[in-house]
Subunit: 283 residues, 2 copies
DNA sequence: TAAAAAATGTCAAAAAATTACATTTTTCTT
DNA sequence: AAGAAAAATGTAATTTTTTGACATTTTTTA
């Protein structure tokens, strides 16, 4: 677990002197890992044993061990903490916080993905007669994106924003059709109904949603993503990104399964777009 | 740079005893970071100063510093790099690679964002009479997502997929309107034209695109994102994610600028959705 | 094969971290 | 509000760890 996060969380439980140490470290963790216990004690204006006790309170074996943990938290690419945006953050601060917490969420999402289900779903998709992507609200744009990706594969793909169109589309499903439903909470009533309709018409229903949700229960396969959402913002943020990345994974699996010739096909699709673009200068 | 890779690379240049140390470390790096120089020396069957010299050969300040570097290389998620998906990757492998390279791209994107422009654009958006989001192809879903976010702010927001609707919408722009155009390459002809139309009608045009592109040149403000795209896949992947994250940043900046009361408003919007959802059980 | 250079080890000094204990501060009880 | 108990903090000594100086061994080269 990220020790910077841990320091922030436990801050309330620290004593006065320990708080001083915590602040010095949080203010400049990069310096902290390159300091000796004496230097850090001086910077925090406390004694050396206090620093040592601070380290042990964080369940490390001592100061050197603490530095090791800190170094890992600071390692390149290790996203910091799920840092919450604060009322008074400067543009610089909230920009970095959002990027960082998005990266952190992706890491969590990555660990929650069940690769076996991914594999199974890729199987299904490659064999599908028709693939539908549906989502509502924030998840609609994810479905929209999936359309854009899978459309390039020259497979019959369906995407509707309109809920009635979605229902009608599912009514016409048949064996061999795959319906992918996207919802972070998995509690949107209309989407759960759509899952039911699709299943009644023999389609295979894949849910990109959280486990144990009503939607998950109606699906043939569930690709569950456990993403911590910063509810203070009242907006879906990290969940969408995780869903999109999962779509990327599915699309990639799809192309790999189809093999080399298929990828040449993709290149042709991309080349077709060239006419609509300005040429890139070769400086 | 990853020190484990460095050890592997420099292996040839090491002396006999240093090689012994290298092998012990490579065989079990996790143990190495928790050992003292004495323990490691014994394990490698060399003297302590030899271990120390080994560390310095790798451009570290000494043994403790070396352990810090090693700890960082071992940190969760660090084998970062832009790992390319390979023909024969297993589902497990390509899933992890895609998540990792997406995170890596976000890190690159984060560093390329100009915070001053972000701040300026947030300014503009909060004062806009009408905000439009347009994108084509893969960027359409990003615009779609932006619609979903900004719609909650109770600001007039416009989004069209249809290129003619986009043009007409821009023809009707006036002073105080902001048009946000999204394009990874910035070379899509129709989008560049839309930028021109919008500007002719006194709208402020913000581009989320790559710097120095034809689109960038037509914009009043450019939020440039430099994202390395894995062109082998012939699909936009990381670029979208970076664009979406930037949208999140803008949306967050917007709510922060509007202050506390405004956020209560957002909560109300979210609560309105409750009726359309299944209640969450309280276990 | 001998001399030079490089590598390695021994041992002592220096630096860093930790422990034991004394002192101070805070908290709780009456 | 005073005093006792508990918690927190600091001082100083001790231990551990790392590093440096120098001697010895090994390797290289002429």
């Amino acid at each position: 677990m990220n020790i910077l996060e841990k320091i922030t969380q436990n801050k309330a439980a620290f004593s006065k002197s320990e708080k001083k140490v915590a602040e010095v470290i949080l203010a400049n963790p990069q310096t902290a890992i390159h300091s000796s216990i004496a230097t850090l004690a001086k910077m925090s204006d406390v004694s050396e044993p206090t620093v040592n006790r601070f380290c042990r309170r964080l369940d490390t074996k001592g100061f050197p061990d603490f530095k090791l943990h800190l170094a890992q938290s600071l390692a390149n690419g290790t996203p910091y903490v799920n840092r919450h945006v604060d009322e008074n953050d400067s543009p610089d601060e909230y920009t970095n916080k959002i990027f960082e917490s998005t990266m952190a969420s992706l890491e969590v999402a990555r660990q929650s993905v069940d690769v076996n289900v991914v594999n199974r779903v890729v199987d299904l998709l490659t064999q599908a007669q028709k693939i539908s992507f549906f989502g509502l609200g924030a998840s609609a744009s994810v479905a929209h994106d999936a359309l854009n990706k899978f459309f390039r594969f020259n497979v019959p793909v369906v995407y509707f924003e309109d809920i009635l169109m979605q229902r009608m589309s599912c009514m016409n499903c048949s064996d061999g059709d795959v319906v992918v439903l996207i919802s972070h909470t998995g509690r949107t009533k209309s989407l759960v109904e759509i899952a039911q309709i699709a299943r009644m018409n023999d389609a295979t229903v894949v849910g990109i949603t959280s486990a144990d949700s009503p939607l998950a229960q109606e699906c043939s396969y569930v690709l569950s993503l456990e993403v911590p959402e910063d509810t203070d913002m009242y907006m879906p943020m990290a969940s969408r990104i995780a869903q999109l990345t999962l779509i990327d994974v599915l699309a990639t699996g799809f192309t790999l399964r189809r093999g080399n010739k298929f990828r040449e096909n993709l290149k042709r699709v991309k080349d077709t777009l060239r006419g609509s673009r300005f040429e890139k200068r070769n400086d």
